[in-house]
Symmetry: C2
Subunit: 428 residues, 2 copies
């Protein structure tokens, strides 16, 4: 009987696992130096938890099941509802601001395609308890810090930023009535998926004349550099109603990431949930889905029974990130841990001393290997040592002498080393 | 609306997560130095995969569901079937021996109790492609290496070892017929759960007379030290049919872990699956469930469609391990990463320079934090720095000078440091 991994999931053999660790270690390292603390929650939650945030419609996208107590449960498709539940439960005792990160595996019951799998890993960065745009800017900085850490640059990657309130003001200036605002955002969100003629028709239904439709369309497609809010003002006629965007603009410059960012009023990130800044991280060619997406969600903690808590954050999946790194040649070829030393014995007397020498090395933190084959042929054993990509081979003497022959497998140099100095020599 | 974590699952707030990382980092570190490579598989598998190894009876212990393509799937309750599937799929191309480890989250639909949760983490160590007892001894060494790494000792922890074939020979000597052997193992496995009188009755049904029942019972309860197979021989009358146990005994001594181990013929580990050595890691007081369990399973890879592949390994969960470490005071109180430096500004000019200084420090790998409060009161800010448990506070000058005041928050010492030396000073 032969089995395969389920559709849309992955087997991580050592090489693939080393790549995954390379990404997740970077997520962890960057999170910690930016002052975020790691959290996690259960792999499954009550189905209702996801309905509260996303409505009944979410159920079709989930792997859900019933336990023996007839509780309706679902494998987590995202971390945010768990985070909101955890914050709401301990809101009064958690010191503010709350800066949390996690790297959970998530599952979605969707059709697998490039950049979308049924199981994937997602980095979550969330900063709760501050309504200052400095928090928005810091979250964006963290995303940029990760990109730079992994060897990407501002020519390849752009963070595209918009702001719900600013766009609302612009749409209002264009003549969209308050009761049409939701439909206008919906149109903005879908504009790349519909024909230009249909766009004009739908925009006209919002009460816009052809000139306003043109300006609406243009304002959505144009990208404004950081530090050039004057251009955005001029194109949209928004005047001084830029709100938090003005302060965010200064902070992005102060954090030194202006060249990684641009304003893109076409960034919507769905219709509910976000309340202020929204942003997506994109590879500039446009060949891939967004690498990350996030924004400000000031009403969510209250929705989950907690106190009013301003919040901003983002999620970054491992699949698109991997694709971009592979395409850009920025993922190291081989990140598998290599042995420090391969210990070998050319005779039976030496072989009996081998386990205790290996055991001692490992207890001292040395990555030490040996052969499982019964051969005592030194040439064959040295070949096996080289194949293991060990840095050194340590050849045990058959007598009771206190030295071993330590051979540097790259240079071929060999020297006798006292056994009690072996670990420190190998770890140098 | 208020939600809780589902029954039998855990929320990992930063402190709990730091503990979890402490354990999983130790698993990873010890695995790598013992020459094992990390792997992983999907969080869910086809339900049939689990039935192949464990029969229909397993279904009730699983969280299972159907996807939209009507595939029957289940959240993984253990990693071994995934490992067997992965090895079987690539058996011809994988270099031997295969030494794999992983640290997956697993889920079982059982009643939560001390040491048993519905979601937990499990360290898996597997060595495939060697039928030598040195492989069995090395796996046991890895378990011991982990225990020692986490601060436990051989007074607290014992690896209890048995061997299926040896026990079969002993039972045969006692007069158990071949066709009663399965029932004899079953009785051995359940002996702690049944009354002594009932044990005698059931043993008699196997064809043993009262004297043989007594010897059977005694041999199961006695613990034999490593290096004292002569005692085991004498008690059981097994003579020279000890098989691999003789060689294993020598290897355990050679690896220097004889005092961590003992033979316990009462260790069974279920009725199917294992074919040779079986072992469990126990805390000696007996207050906890087994910390780990494993053994040799030479027939499993073939069962999953692969070639005949000898294999030995074990699994260690995080819940019992945590309980033992907490009870023994061996788990560090606080493993949360602490900030290297808290950067603060006592005036508006300094505050404008803060983000770029923080950004630069973080890019150089420094864990740097700052206050989100608008205050410029140095006293308050220094208090916040101390509360963050940062090692240093860096106080930015309001002028354009190239130095900051660096204060060691433990000693109170303060010195002016050039900004471009700040990261190296703080990381010293």
């Amino acid at each position: 009987m032969k089995f395969q991994a389920p559709r849309g999931t992955r087997d991580f053999y050592p090489k693939q696992m080393a790549w995954r660790n390379h990404l997740i270690d970077a997520w962890r390292r960057v999170s910690i130096r930016n002052g975020f603390e790691q959290v996690d929650g259960p792999i499954f939650e009550s189905l209702d938890l996801y309905k509260v945030k996303s409505g009944e419609g979410i159920v079709g996208e989930l792997f859900h099941f019933e336990d023996r107590g007839e509780r309706q449960l679902a494998i987590r498709p995202e971390f945010t509802p768990t985070l909101a539940r955890m914050v709401a439960a301990q809101a009064s005792s958690l010191p503010k601001p709350i800066k949390w990160f996690c790297t959970p595996n998530l599952c979605r019951a969707e059709r697998p395609q490039r950049g979308r799998l049924r199981e994937f890993f997602q980095w979550n960065i969330d900063l709760l308890g501050s309504d200052s745009p400095v928090a928005d800017a810091e979250c964006i900085f963290v995303a940029v810090d990760l990109m730079r850490d992994l060897g990407l640059d501002s020519q390849t990657i752009k963070v595209r930023i918009s702001h719900r309130e600013t766009v609302r003001h612009i749409l209002s200036k264009f003549g969209v009535a308050d009761d049409m605002m939701l439909r206008a955002f919906e149109l903005l969100d879908r504009r790349d998926k519909i024909e230009p003629e249909r766009f004009v028709e739908l925009a006209a239904e919002l009460g816009l004349d052809p000139n306003q439709v043109e300006r609406f369309d243009q304002a959505c497609r144009y990208k404004y550099p950081i530090g050039r809010l004057d251009q955005l003002r001029e194109h949209t006629g928004i005047g001084d109603q830029l709100g938090d965007l003005e302060s965010l603009d200064a902070h992005l410059t102060d954090f030194g990431i202006a060249d990684w960012c641009e304003y893109d009023l076409g960034i919507v990130r769905g219709l509910a949930y976000y309340t202020g800044t929204v942003f997506e991280v994109h590879e500039v060619s446009g060949a891939e889905r967004a690498l990350a997406g996030g924004g400000r969600y000031d009403r969510l903690i209250k929705l989950f029974g907690g106190p009013d808590t301003p919040a901003v954050g983002f999620g970054m999946g491992d699949t698109v990130l991997s694709n971009v790194l592979v395409d850009r040649g920025a993922l190291p070829e081989d990140t598998l841990p290599k042995p420090d030393v391969f210990v070998l014995a050319g005779g039976d007397d030496a072989a009996r001393r081998l386990p205790s020498i290996v055991a001692d090395l490992r207890q001292r933190g040395v990555h030490a290997r040996f052969s499982y084959r019964p051969t005592r042929n030194l040439g064959k054993l040295l070949k096996e040592a080289a194949a293991s990509q060990a840095r050194y081979a340590a050849i045990i003497n058959g007598d009771t002498s206190n030295t071993v022959a330590l051979k540097d497998l790259a240079s071929g140099e060999q020297a006798d080393v006292p056994i009690d100095e072996l670990s420190s020599r190998v770890l140098q």
